[in-house]
Structures are given as C-alpha cells and as structure tokens.
C-alpha cells in the first residue's frame, strides 16, 4: 500500500524535490570531484597530440538554453587549445544565439592569453544554411566567410589565408545542441575525413555513442 502511494506521488512533490536538488548546489556548492569519462579523455589526448601552429575549427552550435551545460566545455576546450598554441577558427552554425555566445566566450577566454587576432585565432561569425556552409567549407572557408564577425574582410588575415579548407584543419570541435553535431559527423567527418569532436548536452549524449563507436567522433561530452 505504501509502495502504491509512492508510485502515485503528487507531481508537485517531485517538482519540489527537483527544486531543492537544483538549489542546494547553487546556494552551497558541494564541490564533488568530476571524473572525466573515456570519450572526454579521448579528446584531451587528441588535443595533446596537436603541434603548435596546427589549426582547429571550433563551432558554437548552441543557444542560451544550453549555456549552463556547454559554456564550461567551450571554456575548457579553448583554454586547452590556446595553451597548446593551436590556432583556432571560430564559427557558428546554430541560428538562435550561437554567434552572440561565441563573441562573449571567445573574448573572455582569449583575454587570458597573449594572442593576436587574425593570426592565432579568428571569429568568423554565423553562417545560415546549416549543412550548406559546412559542405562549402570543404572547398574554401574564405568563400563561405568573406568577412569575420566584425565584418572585417578575411582576405589578408594570416590564419584564413593559411587554413583554406578542411584539408588544413586537424580537428573540428562542435559544441552542439540538437542535430548539428550529427551533421558535422555525417558530412565533415564522413566526406572530408577530418576528426570531429562533439560537446553535447546530456540529453543528446546517447545518440552520439553510435558515432563514437564507429570512429566518426572523438568525444561526446563532458560526462
């Protein structure tokens, strides 16, 4: 009888428990250690293998709804890449605020390092069309992004002149919500052979395991 009661518990009690569970760590952080999972370790090791001067494309494919989960990932990945002196090309394919988050986060992290814009990193901004610009960047990144996020022409920027297409990129890392991570794997990894890593929200993680197992992705999220 007691179990039966527990099964039909009022949803407001569940809401209250969720609220308490969410509020306690905000009010008083517990500070539990975070153990990296195997796919996360896989991406860490891939970045460690990069040489100074190698190029990585970092795509901000999420909006404000996924910021709490994906901002820490973008910060950790950017710091790691810049510590390794890897050149970073930032793009945004997600239409609902990806570019605004990219501007804020890139400015925040790059301010911690001694970097030259257009040489060590560039923010190319947002391009509409989803898979269309992804595919077109396989031919020429500069054709897809003739100007950067501040509408400065990319022609003459050393990083853009040097990194012409996916052939010059070691890894594409996307911080993705929805289906965009799958597009990068299906299109960019499968057709151009570039390593793809996806930092995703927890709710999207299960579907990426199929790509991870097939070798189409390096990683699927920070736990």
């Amino acid at each position: 009888m007691k179990i039966q009661k527990l099964l039909y518990i009022d949803r407001r009690i569940i809401y209250l428990l969720v609220a308490i569970g969410a509020l306690i760590p905000i009010i008083r952080p517990i500070g539990l250690p975070v153990v990296p999972s195997a796919p996360v370790q896989g991406l860490f090791e891939r970045v460690e293998e990069l040489e100074p001067g190698d190029a990585v494309m970092l795509s901000f494919d999420y909006g404000p709804s996924s910021e709490p989960e994906l901002n820490p990932m973008s910060a950790a990945i950017m710091r790691h890449l810049f510590m390794r002196e890897v050149r970073v090309m930032v793009v945004a394919i997600f239409p609902l605020g990806g570019v605004q988050i990219a501007i804020r986060e890139v400015a925040r992290i790059t301010s911690e390092f001694d970097l030259e814009y257009g040489v060590d990193y560039v923010n190319l901004g947002y391009k509409d069309g989803g898979q269309a610009p992804m595919k077109a960047m396989g031919v020429s990144i500069q054709d897809v992004f003739p100007a950067d996020v501040e509408t400065t022409p990319t022609e003459g920027m050393p990083i853009v002149e040097d990194v012409r297409n996916y052939g010059d990129i070691e890894v594409v890392i996307t911080l993705a919500t929805g289906i965009i991570g799958e597009w990068w794997a299906n299109l960019v990894n499968a057709q151009f052979g570039v390593d793809v890593a996806v930092g995703c929200t927890a709710v999207s993680a299960p579907k990426y395991y199929a790509y991870l197992r097939s070798g189409q992705m390096i990683q699927r999220g920070l736990q």
Binding site: L7, I9, R11, I14, Y15, L17, V18, A19, A22, I30, L32, P33, V34, V35, S37, A38, G63, P64, S65, S66, E67, P68, P95, L96, G97, V99, Q100, I103, G125, Y126, K127, D128, G129, G130, Q131, A132, P133, K135, A136, G138, V139, D143, V144, A147, V149, E150, T151, A202, A205, P206, K207, Y209, A210, L212, R213, S214, Q223
Partner: protein
Amino acid sequence: MRRTIPLILTFCVGMYPIFAFFVPHRVVTNINQNLDTYLVIVAAFALPLGVVNLVMSNINKIKKKDKGWFYSVVLIAGLCLMAFYGIMGGDQGFHAHFQWMFENAVSPLQATMFSLLAFYVASAAYRAFRARNVEATVLLIAAIVVMLGRIPIGDMITGGRLTPISEWLMTKPNAAAQRGIIIGAALGAASMQIRVILGIEQTYLGSGKD
C-alpha cells in the same frame, strides 16, 4: 509546364552531385563546387520564407481574435524590433540595442524554457519508470545505473563501481539501438531523396492550385 520545369531542375540538380562523386574530373568537380556555393544561397532563402509564414499565420490569428491573439502581437512586435536592430547593426547584427535585447530578453527566456523542462522531465521520468512489468523494471534499473554511473554524487555513493557498468550500457546496448535508429532514418531519407529526384514524390511542388 509549371510542374515539368521544376521536376527537370530537381532531377538535374539532384543527379549531378552523384555523378560528380563518381567522376572526379576537374571540370565536373568545379561545377559541383559551384553548386555547393549556390546551396548556401538557396538555403538562406529558407529563413525569409519561415519569417513570412510566421508573420502571416500570426496576423491571421490577430485578425480573427483567436484565443491567445495577444501573444501573436507580442511575437510580431519582438520579431520586428529584433529584425530592425539586427539590420541596423550590419551583417552580424551587433547594434547595441540588439545585443541588449539578446542578453536581457532572448537569453533569459530561453533559459527559463529549458529550466522548466527539468521539472517536467523529472515528473514524466518518475511516471515512465514505474516497475509495472519486466520490461519497465529493466528500463528502471538501467536508468538508475546510468544516472548514478555518470554523476559525481553517484561516484561518491557507489565508490565508482557503477561507472564501468554505465559505460557498458551506453556503448553496447544503447549504441546498438541508436545505430539501428540512425540507419533506419538514413535509409528512409535516402529513399525519399530518390523519390524526389525521380519525380515520384511531388508534394514539395504544392497542390497545383493557386
């Protein structure tokens, strides 16, 4: 004629990339690369199409004073304001007002919507995972193991003993099921594309009535 020309165009544009894939000649590849560039432009047209559709359906709602018509007014006002300041800000839309509205309206609204989901998902999961039969019990146990195996507090409670089991559940049964879903969806998409290219599927052309 109004249907024949689009059908011929669809056939040619649909077949060419397949042809280019098997014929890697420079001339063929160049044309294919140009098609990719046109694709970016054509895909961008989906955005104004969506906006027109959204505006028309909401204006109709306002005209008819349907239930919740006031929300349509808010939607159109927000759309016009964001579009106005976005266009004023240049290519990437970084007018100060646009940025202010993004940071103070769009961002908190989206965050609120997603935060509310946590409550609904928790409630729905609680009801879905009731151990009513064998299958539901297996689902319940798997869910508990995966959840505890992937969060720091789970590691603390179990001493990390559930992590390998959780990883096995994700990499084996879950990946197998996901692969089945992905392959099924991909086959469905491929067959639909063949139908569109060959002109069997014509619903994208509309009903033919004005």
